[in-house]
Point group: C2
Chain length 272, copies 2
């Protein structure tokens, strides 16, 4: 690779550039972003040049690191102007709609499972992906250059995993989107309790409400592009809450409780 | 106070004894617990004597630090054998049923909001209550010795708050029991997903499932003695999840999202 174009030079895109440099990448890094961001990225020497999407589409590798909605808007442009040998990947948090719109391109979707509580180029750092999973989501036959991309990602510190786009979207509906919505629903259920006695409560409540602070800007596109997978998950959670409600004073609750504990412990071990 | 009897010398009871000593309490500390626990507590010099409940009921202060079910069983005994000047308090996590059964005694219920992931005397430490809320829950007129107890609790490091038993039970239903059941329901909803791709997921899921690991032994009595307050909370949360489900792809979701964020932020500030 002689040139990498990063579309969306924020936390993820900026960290990708810094991580490439740290890994010894000697080619050019181009940026596509707002004028203000490009200025900052040039100043910090995170990118070498600021370009339009059309000009950047001639790079050897294009990395789409904008919100999902903007990725979906960029793909038709790339269908028209990508170079014949340009490899394209992305960092969108849902994968089916992106994969569909990328058909015909030399595209292999990705999802780096890394982030911070605040976004933006200021937060970018070369170690953001160190030890974090980076899911690659080939649709149909794996492209011949997939290993090249996987090696690049391993080289910047990430741990590459493989899933199809539908597998990915079902998995994130379970392990990311449902927990998010559960936290949001809990906050809404408690919102009528803000007049309650102002006694500080414990770390349990704080843990359960942390996700509810996630910005809407991030979640709008995620939920809009994965609603069909998220709805059955929500149904399941609603059903389980209903069962807990009905068995609150019954001996059956002990069994549910133990099943929940086993699942929580097993997912914790898987996480570590 | 010349003598304090601790009924249930575990994490809370043992820490109470250690905190009393740290605060300079020079009287006798008696323990009522299983033979094995009493042996350990004597060995560690956490208590001065092991007694039966009947004998311990002559202490100046009796502190009931067993699970709620056992507190409820101890109170009728105390109705028969407590000394005429014996003050009684407890550490139960729900307060209405305990307060009812304690009528006629010189009783003032309490709820120390402190704990650890593992229980038992081995975990006891003098600083367990430092800076933590300790709710006192007078029923009807506040007893003349309430300030004496509050001063004692302040002296061992706790921050005393006051609520009636019904206020308390409604408040913990919201800020403790509902978050717990939400985490348990989430774990149950995910339990059918344990065959999912074994990719480590992020800290968000880990936070949301931490409470689901709480032991059933602790929660059985809590839920059984507060079911009537917990059920409407569960209904509210189920309703909010349903609304999220219906608005997943609609612009309305932005408003709910912001309301949830505001609540989460406001409860976080209240917690700190």
């Amino acid at each position: 690779l002689q040139s990498v174009a990063i579309v969306g030079v924020g936390l993820i895109g900026g960290s990708f550039a810094l991580a490439l440099r740290r890994a010894g990448f000697g080619g050019e890094i181009w940026g596509v972003s707002s004028a203000l961001t490009i200025e900052k990225a040039l100043e910090k020497q995170i990118i070498d040049r600021g370009l339009t999407l059309e000009a950047a589409a001639r790079a050897d590798l294009v990395f789409l690191a904008t919100p999902i909605g903007t990725i979906l808007e960029s793909l038709p442009h790339l269908q028209r102007c990508a170079g014949p040998n340009t490899l394209i990947t992305d960092a969108g948090s849902t994968k089916r709609q992106i994969a569909e719109r990328a058909r015909g391109l030399r595209f292999l979707g990705g999802h780096p499972m890394a982030g911070k509580e605040t976004s933006g180029l200021e937060q970018a750092e070369p170690g953001l992906f160190d030890g974090r999973p980076w899911i690659l989501t080939p649709e149909g036959p794996v492209p011949d250059w997939a290993d090249q991309l996987a090696d690049l990602l391993t080289g910047i510190g990430a741990r590459v995993h493989w899933m199809s786009p539908p597998e990915h979207d079902r998995w994130v509906a379970a392990c990311s989107h449902l927990p998010q919505l559960t936290s949001t629903a809990l906050a809404l259920a408690l919102s009528r309790f803000q007049d309650a006695p102002s006694v500080p409560s414990g770390p349990g409540l704080r843990d359960m409400l942390r996700l509810a602070e996630s910005p809407w800007d991030l979640w709008r596109d995620i939920l809009a592009t994965n609603a069909d997978e998220v709805k059955p998950m929500l149904d399941r959670c609603i059903e389980e809450l209903g069962i807990l409600r009905e068995t609150l004073e019954k001996p059956d609750l002990a069994n549910s409780w133990e099943e929940a504990r086993r699942t929580a412990v097993s997912l914790r071990y898987r996480n570590s």
